[in-house]
């Protein structure tokens, strides 16, 4: 059986790489990455893929679908992969942000593993993104709290532990997060011309 030729259309280089790696590990070798910019439709026609995987959030999906309707270069029509017997899979694909287009006549059991893999990889990527965002926020908050502590230590002549305890009790009394109280303190201090 001939290798399936897979094209990944994606704006985010990182996510596409994550997906490509996964497919290669699973034994698919004929993979090309195409960013959805400029004349990407013409490139796609030249590549003549069996399967196209695309980010559901890409604004260029309408451009791709138009090409699928009008292209004379493609030997076989490509349509969105829909296995009506598997509603769960469609839901999972949409949740994960994957859309897939498959050439007519390709057996479903050959396509399903690819889509399953794309769903898993897209999900893993978005988890990674969330964790990265959370880590960035946590880091930014720690810096804010450190600055607020420094202001308290200097202006109230406190030790580090005491300054932190003061912030924490202010936060608890006001029902706010420590980072928010620290932020307010820094703003107030800079308005009053205090230490930065």
């Amino acid at each position: 059986m001939a290798q399936l030729r897979i094209v990944i259309i994606d704006d985010s280089g990182l996510r596409a790489t994550v997906l490509e790696e996964g497919l290669r590990e699973a034994g698919y070798d004929d993979i090309q990455l195409v960013p959805p910019r400029g004349a990407f439709v013409a490139r796609l026609e030249r590549i003549a893929p069996d399967v196209v995987l695309m980010d559901l959030g890409s604004p260029s999906r309408d451009t791709l679908e138009e090409m699928l309707v009008v292209s004379r270069a493609l030997a076989k029509p490509i349509a969105m992969f829909v296995d009506q017997s598997d509603e769960d899979m469609i839901g999972a694909a949409i949740d994960a942000g994957v859309s897939a287009y498959v050439v007519d006549g390709l057996r479903k059991d050959r396509v399903k593993p690819i889509l399953d893999l794309a769903i898993r990889r897209f999900n893993a990527f978005s988890r990674m993104q969330t964790e990265l965002d959370e880590a960035k926020t946590a880091l930014a908050e720690r810096k804010t709290i450190d600055r607020a502590k420094a202001i308290l230590m200097e202006s109230r002549k406190l030790g580090e532990a005491e300054a932190y305890a003061l912030l924490r009790s202010a936060a608890m009394n006001q029902g706010r997060r420590i980072a928010d109280v620290a932020e307010a303190l820094i703003t107030a201090s800079s308005l009053l011309g205090g230490a930065q």
């Binding site: 400029g38 559901l56 959030g57 890409s58 604004p59 260029s60 999906r61 309408d62 451009t63 791709l64 679908e65 138009e66 309707v69 349509a79 969105m80 829909v82 509603e87 469609i90 839901g91 949409i94 949740d95 859309s99």
Partner: protein
């Protein structure tokens, strides 16, 4: 409160949904409305067809195309409420527009002359003009085709129509990838404000009351959840009244400008609402009083004849083979019966009929109404042709015999 998810695209004509959420009209009707922003019609369609959302703000022709099985997976959709009338504009690059009437007021007000000028400009252009459209099954594309065919232009032969999402049109103009585009507000105003294009035509001057976006449900869900659907329509109807009121235009433009919605500055959104469109950077605006309608003249009422006009254009442009079955399916997408049921006691004027001859009114006309006085505005096509939904074959024969 019943939770309802509705998918939308960032366009000015999503206003009724946004006002329903932000001004509390949905909540007043007992609906906990969640709006799901989408960046392509394909994704919005998939979310609706595969049940990830309950309803969607969708191009009227696309709702019909999905039902007829012309756009990927076929699914019976039902549109009991129109979200807008008019609102599109054709924007061309200054190089192309140099061959059009330099008097912008005359260019917009006289679409007959402008169509002929456009046909001439095609021949003068250094290449076959590439015009961006948002979707093959969009009201914009159908309007563009209708307008240019009048002047003897075959849009499939004399132009390259390229599908691009509205949000990428301005960038594509700047890069010289396209020579113009037709899209919904605010994208023409954005292109003009950035100096990459000028208006060549506005859709309100091609068909004075052109169907634009509709609220569509999956038919089976809509029929199973009648009580909830009625509440949604009641909330949206109140929101549409609010959107149409002159005194709310500035606040509406501000709501739409937020990043979660259209995400463009309020001052490029406002002109479509007030009907004062800047056609070329640095010039006085052109006044288009009916630039967009949400409520007045029973704008939200889904006339079945309007669905049939869209079907007639699908046949005209060979997007579908004519058949009695397809014609009936298309007409059935527009559910005036559900509109009547949901809003019968809502105090809004209710048309007496569900079909009419489209393009027959040259002046505001009082029409039969079950409740309250209803005056319909002029709804002529720019070429004066009337569409009788009972004689589609004759209508198409006349169009092709030109």
């Amino acid at each position: 409160m019943t939770p309802i998810n509705i998918a939308f695209l960032p366009l000015t004509d999503s206003a009724v949904l946004i006002a329903a959420k932000e001004k509390g009209f949905a909540a007043d009707a007992g609906i906990d409305l969640k709006l799901v922003r989408s960046t392509s019609w394909a994704t919005l369609r998939d979310r609706l067809v595969y049940g990830q959302v309950h309803a969607a703000h969708i191009l009227a022709p696309l709702a019909i195309a999905v039902t007829l099985g012309l756009s990927q997976h076929p699914a019976a959709l039902a549109a009991p409420f129109k979200l807008s009338i008019n609102g599109n504009a054709l924007t061309m690059s200054p190089a192309f527009a140099a061959a059009l009437d330099p008097d912008l007021h005359r260019r917009i007000e006289d679409p007959v002359a402008a169509a002929h000028d456009f046909a001439t400009a095609i021949g003068l252009h250094h290449r076959k003009p590439i015009v961006g459209i948002v979707h093959r099954f969009s009201s914009h594309a159908l309007m563009l085709r209708y307008w240019l065919a009048f002047a003897g232009v075959d849009p499939d032969r004399d132009l390259s129509l390229r599908v691009l999402p509205p949000s990428l049109m301005v960038e594509a103009m700047r890069a010289g990838e396209i020579d113009g585009f037709i899209a919904g507000a605010p994208w023409a105003s954005v292109a003009v404000a950035e100096g990459v294009g000028e208006l060549a035509a506005v859709s309100a001057r091609i068909w004075q009351r052109g169907v634009e976006k509709v609220l569509a449900f999956r038919k089976d869900w809509m029929e199973a959840e009648a009580g909830t659907v009625d509440k949604v329509l009641q909330g949206l109807s109140q929101a549409a009244i609010w959107c149409d009121a002159t005194e709310n235009q500035e606040e509406l433009a501000e709501l739409l400008s937020r990043p979660a919605y259209v995400g463009q500055p309020a001052d490029v959104i406002l002109p479509q609402l007030t009907g004062h469109l800047v056609a070329r950077l640095g010039e006085l605006p052109v006044t288009v009083p009916d630039a967009i309608l949400f409520h007045r003249e029973a704008a939200a009422f889904p006339w079945r004849s309007q669905a049939l006009w869209i079907y007639s254009q699908f046949v005209r442009w060979k997007m579908i083979e004519p058949s009695a079955k397809a014609e009936r399916l298309a007409a059935d997408v527009f559910r005036s019966d559900v509109y009547r049921r949901a809003l019968g006691n809502a105090g809004v004027p209710m048309p007496g009929a569900s079909m009419k001859v489209e393009g027959a009114l040259a002046a505001p006309t009082a029409v039969g109404s079950h409740r309250g006085a209803l005056t319909l505005g002029p709804d002529r096509f720019f070429d004066g042709r009337e569409f009788d939904p009972h004689h589609i074959a004759d209508y198409l024969a006349h169009l092709s015999a030109r």
